[in-house]
Amino acid sequence: MTDKFQSESTLAFPGEVHQTPSGGVLVSKLDDVINWARSNSLWPLVFGTSCCAIEMMSTAAAKYDWSRFGFEVARATPRQADVIIIAGTIVNKMAPVLKRLYDQMGDPKYVIAMGACATSGGPFFYNTYSVVKGADHVIPVDVYVAGCPPRPEALINSLMLLQQKIKKGLTREQIREESKLPTPLTGKEQEAFYK
């Protein structure tokens, strides 16, 4: 997704400054200002089930600090959180719990599926009777992060991607359209692609 990565200017405060003799006047759209404020202070929910949770803790620690981007306050209760980062495998017994947590979060809320297990079942795809093959069978997901476990830099990249999508002012359905996984090619199209 690096070709869609916007330049520095979209990270600046939106609006135009007009200089007047006693200071200045800032003109902007209310929607832009609210989106800017919202995207720079997303509060994640503490939700880690297995190994990816350790990489999430590393991202929160001092070397790959995520509080530079505004995600410092990690809330334990979903009522006060904006983003849920699903770090780890979801199994059949945990799926109702995840749905309940998602329902308890207040709008607007976003979901990041971290790691191979949350994206599609990961290494536990074949021959298991209890793993949900992908967290998007349970709740709608906005950003997928690949890796097993993904590096802390990959997680920060995904959070920045989410920030840009919020700044552009898209609704949740539009965000999900953009990040839909591509449908696999079949038949003649597949042959033509690999020729």
Binding site: K93, Y126, N127, T128, Y129, S130
Partner: protein, 152 residues
């Protein structure tokens, strides 16, 4: 004690046991009815003193089930493996949780994954599988779940 000394000692204490010496540790095969008496002997006799049950599991051979107990003594550092054969259609056996407290959790797990009924267990209910699990026991060889299991 070495394997040979253990075999001699156990032959005189548990006359109905058969032995299998291939493998690293001595294997004893006893009948389900003998379980309580044998287990008392293994735990309480001062020369044996098997006070540490470090692994309890079950294996599904397609004609019968086998319960396997791995025992060790913390004073003498010798190990023994106790095996018991169970009927596949109605597997029932006494619990050993009054002797080794670790068996409480291990037996609950075997109950839900293999279907073995433990008599006189203080609290036999499912541990790891979801609540209200209806259906067969997952670790048996004839378990089929076309909805969840995607075969490679």
């Amino acid at each position: 004690m070495t394997k040979e000394e253990l075999k001699i000692k156990l032959t005189e204490l548990i006359p109905t046991a058969t032995f299998d010496e291939s493998g690293e540790w001595l294997n004893i095969v006893i009948t389900p009815g003998d379980l309580l008496t044998s287990v008392e002997i293994l735990r309480n006799k001062p020369e044996l003193n098997f006070d540490y049950l470090f692994c309890q599991t079950c294996i599904d051979w397609k004609t019968h089930l086998t319960m396997v107990y791995h025992l060790e003594s913390t004073t003498y550092r010798h190990q023994v493996v106790v095996k018991i054969q169970l009927d596949r259609n109605k597997p029932e056996i006494e619990t050993v949780s009054h002797i080794w407290r670790t068996a409480e959790f291990h037996e609950r797990e075997i109950y839900e994954l293999f279907g073995v009924n433990f008599l006189n267990h203080p609290d036999l209910r499912i541990l790891i599988l979801p609540d209200g699990w209806e259906g067969k026991n997952p670790l048996r060889k004839d378990f089929e779940d076309p909805v969840n299991m995607i075969k490679l």
